[in-house]
C-alpha cells in the first residue's frame, strides 16, 4: 500500500519534470543568447546550443534534462551566473526554517481555533474566520512591518540575524537549530526574534483554513450517531470531543493542510521579499525581476517535490487517523482533497 503511494508520488514528480521542461521550451526568449550575451557570434551560439543538447529532438532533450536533473545538474542561473543547484542549496535552509516555523504555528493556531469555536455557532466567529482568510499576504506583511517594526520597534524588519552577530557555522543551516547546537544563545534569541513576523504572516492563511475546516468537520462529526452513543454512555463533553470527535474530524483538516502547503510556498515568495529574508522566496522574486527562467525552473522542481512529499505524509496521516481509508487503494494524492473544497 505504501509502495503504491510511493509509486504514485514518483509518477507525479515525473509529470512535474515534464511540465517544467515544457515551460522551458515554450519560453519566447532564446536561452542561449540570454546566457552568452548579445555580443556572442553565431558559431559560439551554435556550439553552446550543441553543448546543451538544444539541437536534438524534443524527447531526447527531455531525457537529457531529466538525466541531468536526477544527477543534480540544472542549468546556470541568468541572474547570479552560478549553477542553479548551488543557489538552491544556499537559499534552501533559510526557507526551510521559516516554512517549518510557519507550518507548526499554523497547526497550533488552526487546531486551537477549530477546537475553541467548534461548539459555538456564532456569526461573529464565522465572519472573523472569513476576514482573516481574505487578507492578502502582502497586506499582512506590510501592515506588520509598518506597525511592529516601523512604529513599535518590537521586532526586526529584515534578514535572519542582526548585523553585529556572526551566524553559527553549520551543520543544518537553520540558524535557530545551529545556534542551539553551538550553545550560542545570543544568536538563538536574535534569530528566533527575526523569525516571528515573517513566520506569523505566513502562518495566518493556513491557520485560518485549517481552523475553519476543523471547525466545520467537527460540527458535522458531533451530529453523528456515534456521538449520541458516546453521550448515552455518560461520557463528558470534553471526553466526547477529544476521544470521539477529534480523530474522526481529522481527515478534512489534514487535507487542507496539505493543500495549503502550495499556497504557503507562494506566500513565501511574497513574505521573503517584504522582510528581505534570504531564502528561496527572495531568490524567486529576484529571478522574476531578471526573467531568469532556469532559476524558477529549479525552484519549481524543489517546491514541487516538497509539496508531493508533504502530501504523501498527509495521506499516511489520514489513513493512520481513519482505519477505513487503509483498505482503499489511493488513486492519487488528489483524491481525498476534492472532498474538502466545500467546507
Amino acid at each position: 500500500m505504501l509502495a503504491a503511494r510511493l509509486a504514485a508520488a514518483l509518477l507525479i514528480l515525473l509529470a512535474l519534470s515534464v511540465i517544467v521542461f515544457a515551460l522551458e521550451t515554450v519560453i519566447p526568449a532564446d536561452p542561449v543568447r540570454a546566457l552568452l550575451g548579445p555580443s556572442a557570434g553565431a558559431d559560439a551560439l551554435s556550439a553552446e546550443r550543441h553543448q546543451l543538447w538544444l539541437d536534438r529532438p524534443l524527447p531526447v532533450q527531455y531525457l537529457h534534462f531529466l538525466g541531468n536533473a536526477l544527477r543534480g545538474n540544472l542549468s546556470v542561473s541568468l541572474t547570479t551566473r552560478r549553477p542553479v543547484v548551488r543557489d538552491l542549496a544556499a537559499f534552501l535552509p533559510a526557507t526551510l526554517e521559516l516554512a517549518a516555523c510557519a507550518v507548526l504555528l499554523a497547526i497550533v493556531l488552526g487546531t486551537t481555533f477549530g477546537l475553541v469555536t467548534a461548539r459555538r455557532r456564532s456569526s461573529a466567529i464565522r465572519l472573523g474566520f472569513i476576514a482573516w482568510a481574505s487578507v492578502p499576504p502582502f497586506l499582512l506583511g506590510l501592515a506588520s512591518l509598518v506597525v511592529f517594526y516601523g512604529r513599535l520597534h518590537w521586532f526586526p524588519g529584515s534578514g535572519r540575524l542582526s548585523a553585529g552577530l556572526t551566524p553559527p557555522p553549520g551543520p543544518t543551516g537553520l540558524l535557530t537549530v545551529d545556534s542551539l547546537l553551538h550553545g550560542d544563545f545570543a544568536a538563538l534569541r536574535d534569530s528566533a526574534w527575526h523569525l516571528v513576523l515573517p513566520a506569523f504572516c505566513l502562518a495566518v492563511g493556513p491557520a485560518v483554513s485549517v481552523g475553519r475546516t476543523l471547525r466545520s468537520s467537527l460540527q458535522s462529526v458531533l451530529s453523528e450517531d456515534y456521538i449520541r452513543t458516546a453521550r448515552a454512555k455518560g461520557l463528558s463533553s470534553r471526553q466526547i470531543l477529544l476521544r470521539h470527535g477529534l480523530r474522526n474530524a481529522l481527515t478534512a483538516p489534514l487535507a487542507t493542510l496539505g493543500l495549503q502547503a502550495g499556497l504557503l510556498f507562494a506566500g513565501v515568495v511574497v513574505v521573503e521579499s517584504i522582510f528581505a529574508w534570504p531564502g528561496l522566496g527572495l531568490y524567486t522574486a529576484r529571478a522574476i525581476q531578471g526573467v531568469d527562467f532556469p532559476a524558477i525552473a529549479g525552484v519549481t522542481l524543489v517546491l514541487g517535490t516538497a509539496y508531493v512529499i508533504i502530501n504523501l505524509v498527509v495521506d499516511l496521516l489520514q489513513s493512520a487517523a481513519d482505519p477505513r481509508l487503509r483498505r482503499q487503494v489511493t488513486r492519487s494524492v488528489g483524491r481525498v482533497r476534492a472532498a474538502t473544497q466545500d467546507y
Binding site: 450517531d225 456515534y226 449520541r228 452513543t229 448515552a232 454512555k233 455518560g234 461520557l235 482505519p323
Partner: protein, 572 residues
C-alpha cells in the same frame, strides 16, 4: 423498585411541534417493555427523553426517574452520571452508531474500564472469537455482529436498564431473531430490564413481557404482551393488529386498511387523537381527552372512553375492507423470461459471482415474489429483469407490451428533483410514442387511478408528501401500462398501516391493467399477500419456487424452512 418511571411527560420543540403530550409508563426490574408506535407517535422521543439525550432546544415537563435522578430537572452532570450508572442504549443502525475510528473492544471498555471485561462482555453477547474481534474496527464486522457489539457496550457497567431503539430494523430476518433471543437471555441471566422501541407488533410480541402502544404522543394502551395482542382494548391497537400483514392475511380481497392519516403534531385537535380515524368514536371522543385507566378487557390499562361499552375489533376499529379481488387474468404467455442468467461483479481475485444460472419466468398478468436476505442477488435479478443491468450470460426476454417498469424502494429518490410530476409522466409518454394530444388526459387519468389529484402534476417531488411521492412514482410506471411492473422492497420503509395501502394499490393496478408483477422483498408475509407464486433465492440461486400458500405451509428446502421459522410470531 422500578428502574424507569415516566410521569406526565410532555415534550415539545420550538416551532410548536408537540411530540409527547403527557405520557406515563414504568419499567420494572428484569422486565422487557416494548414501546410500539408508528413514525410520529413519539416513541423515539420518549426513549431519548428517558436517557436525557434530547437536544437542549426541547421543552420538557413532567418526571422521568432513572437511577435516582429526574432526567427532566437534573443538571447535565447529574444526567450524565445517571446514564453512566443506570442505563445503556442500543440504536437502530449499528454502522453509524459505532465510532468508525476506534477498535470495538475499546468502545466497550470505555465504560467498563478494563479490556478484559470488554472481551468477557463480547463473549456474553455471543460474539465469536471475542479476543480477536475486540481488536477490530466496526467496518470489519457484519451488521449482526455490530449490533451485538452495541449491546455489549450498553451492558458495560452493568446498568439496570437498556433502552433499544429499533435495534433490529436494519437487520435481516434470521439475524433479527438471534438478537431478540439475546435480549431474552440477558434478561434471564443478568436480570437486566429492556425498553424495546419498535414499529413492529410482531417483534414486540416475540420478546416483550409488557407492551405499551403509543399514538400521536399519548399512551393508547399498556398491558401484558399476551393481553395487548390477544385482547386489545384500544381501537388503535386493534386496528394495528388487523392491518398487520401476516402469513394468515386474506389473499382473496384487499388488506384491511386504516382510513385517514396521523394528526398534525403542530395543531393537535381537542379530544382523543385517534377519534378522527376511529370507527367507534362518538361526539364525546372529540372533546374529552381520555385518561389511561384500567382496561375492561385485561389487567392492563387503556385510554379509551368507549373501551368498556362497545364490542371492539374489526367493525369498530375504523378498518375498511373492500370487496373481494376479481381473479387476475393470467395466460400461458410470458411477460418475462430469464434463462440461465449469470452475473459476476469485479475482476480477478476480488470478483464475486452474484447470480449463478438464474431462470425465472413471470406469466402475463401473473405475480411472482422473489424472496431472500440481503446479498442473495435478488436486487441484481430485478435490475437485469428491467434492463438496468445486463447478464454476463443467459437470456432475458419480454412479452408484448410497454417496456418493463420499476417501483423503487426509495420512491421519493426515484423522482428527478427538479422536474414536476407532470413532466416526468410526459417524458415516459413521449418515449413510448404516445401522441402528444393524449398526454394531458392520460396524465390526469393515471394520477386519479393511483389516488392523486391532478394538481399534483404541477408539483415537484419535494413539494408533496412521502406517500404522494410513492403514488407519483407508481403513476409514472403505469402511465403507459408496462408488460411487467417490478417492485424493489416497496414497503420495507413504510409503517404498518401505510404498507397495507400500498400493497392494495399494487394488487388493484395489476388486476385492472393486466400487468405482470415481479415483487422483490425480504418479507415472506408481504410476498404471500401480493404474489401468486414465491421464489426463494440464496447465494445467487433460486432454491425453491411454488404457489405462495403451499411454499409457506410446506417448505421443501431447509433454507426456506429457516426463513419461515424466523418470522416473528404473535405469542397470543
Amino acid at each position: 423498585m422500578n428502574v424507569l418511571e415516566v410521569r406526565g411527560l410532555q415534550v415539545s420543540f420550538p416551532g410548536g411541534l408537540s411530540a409527547l403530550r403527557g405520557v406515563d409508563v414504568t419499567v420494572g426490574p428484569g422486565e422487557i417493555l416494548a414501546l410500539v408506535g408508528e413514525s410520529g407517535s413519539g416513541k423515539s422521543v420518549l426513549a431519548l427523553a428517558a436517557l436525557g439525550l434530547l437536544p437542549s432546544s426541547a421543552l420538557l415537563s413532567g418526571h422521568v426517574r432513572l437511577g435516582g435522578a429526574d432526567m427532566v430537572t437534573a443538571t447535565d452532570a447529574q444526567r450524565r452520571a445517571a446514564r453512566r450508572r443506570s442505563a445503556g442504549a442500543v440504536f437502530q443502525d449499528p454502522m453509524t452508531s459505532l465510532n468508525p475510528t476506534m477498535r470495538v473492544g475499546r468502545q466497550v471498555a470505555e465504560v467498563t474500564g478494563s479490556p478484559r471485561e470488554a472481551v468477557d462482555l463480547l463473549d456474553q453477547v455471543g460474539v465469536p472469537e471475542p479476543g480477536r474481534r475486540a481488536r477490530q474496527y466496526p467496518h470489519e464486522l457484519s451488521g449482526g455482529l455490530r449490533q451485538r457489539v452495541m449491546i455489549a457496550m450498553a451492558l458495560a457497567g452493568d446498568p439496570a436498564l437498556v433502552i433499544a431503539d429499533e435495534p433490529t430494523t436494519a437487520l435481516d430476518v434470521t439475524v433479527q431473531a438471534g438478537i431478540l433471543e439475546l435480549f431474552r437471555e440477558l434478561r434471564d441471566s443478568r436480570g437486566t430490564s429492556f425498553v424495546l422501541v419498535t414499529h413492529d407488533l410482531a417483534v414486540a410480541g416475540e420478546v416483550a413481557d409488557r407492551i405499551a402502544v403509543l399514538y400521536a404522543g399519548r399512551m393508547a394502551e399498556v398491558g401484558a404482551a399476551g393481553d395487548v395482542l390477544g385482547r386489545p382494548s384500544h381501537p388503535y391497537t386493534a386496528a394495528l393488529l388487523a392491518a398487520r400483514i401476516t402469513t394468515r392475511s386474506a389473499r382473496s380481497r384487499p388488506l384491511p386498511t386504516l382510513a385517514g392519516e396521523l394528526p398534525d403534531p403542530h395543531n393537535p385537535e381537542p379530544g382523543c387523537a385517534f377519534a378522527p380515524r376511529c370507527g367507534a368514536a362518538q361526539q364525546e371522543c372529540r372533546t374529552v381527552v381520555p385518561a389511561l385507566e384500567p382496561s375492561p378487557r385485561h389487567a392492563g390499562q387503556d385510554a379509551c372512553i368507549r373501551s368498556g361499552q362497545v364490542e371492539l375489533l374489526a367493525d369498530a376499529s375504523g378498518l375498511s375492507e373492500g370487496p373481494g379481488w376479481q381473479r387476475p387474468s393470467t395466460s400461458s404467455e410470458l411477460a418475462l423470461q430469464l434463462t440461465g442468467v449469470n452475473r459476476t461483479f469485479g475482476r480477478g481475485r476480488r470478483s464475486q459471482q452474484v447470480l449463478r444460472g438464474v431462470s425465472l419466468d413471470v406469466p402475463k398478468g401473473g405475480a411472482v415474489a422473489l424472496v431472500g436476505e440481503s446479498g442473495c442477488g435478488k436486487s441484481t435479478t430485478l435490475r437485469i429483469a428491467v434492463g438496468l443491468d445486463s447478464p454476463d450470460s443467459g437470456d432475458v426476454e419480454y412479452g408484448h407490451g410497454g417496456r418493463p417498469q420499476l417501483v423503487f424502494q426509495d420512491a421519493g429518490a426515484s423522482l428527478t428533483p427538479w422536474a414536476t410530476i407532470g413532466e416526468l409522466l410526459a417524458q415516459r409518454l413521449r418515449n413510448e410514442r404516445v401522441p402528444q394530444q393524449h398526454w394531458r388526459d392520460r396524465t390526469v387519468e393515471t394520477l386519479r387511478l393511483v389516488g392523486l389529484s391532478e394538481r399534483i402534476a404541477e408539483r415537484k417531488p419535494h413539494q408533496i408528501s412521502g406517500g404522494q411521492r410513492q403514488r407519483a412514482a407508481i403513476a409514472r410506471a403505469i402511465v403507459v401500462p408496462p408488460v411487467l411492473l417490478a417492485c424493489d422492497e416497496p414497503i420495507s420503509a413504510l409503517d404498518t398501516t401505510l404498507a397495507a395501502v400500498v400493497l392494495n394499490l399494487l394488487g388493484r393496478l395489476r388486476r385492472e391493467l393486466g400487468m405482470a408483477l415481479l415483487f422483490v422483498t425480504h418479507d415472506l408475509a408481504a410476498a404471500r399477500v401480493v404474489a401468486d407464486e414465491i421464489a426463494v433465492m440464496v447465494d445467487g440461486r433460486i432454491v425453491e419456487r411454488g404457489p405462495a400458500d403451499q411454499l409457506l405451509d410446506r417448505p421443501n428446502e431447509a433454507y426456506t424452512r429457516r426463513l419461515v421459522d424466523a418470522l416473528p410470531r404473535m405469542s397470543a
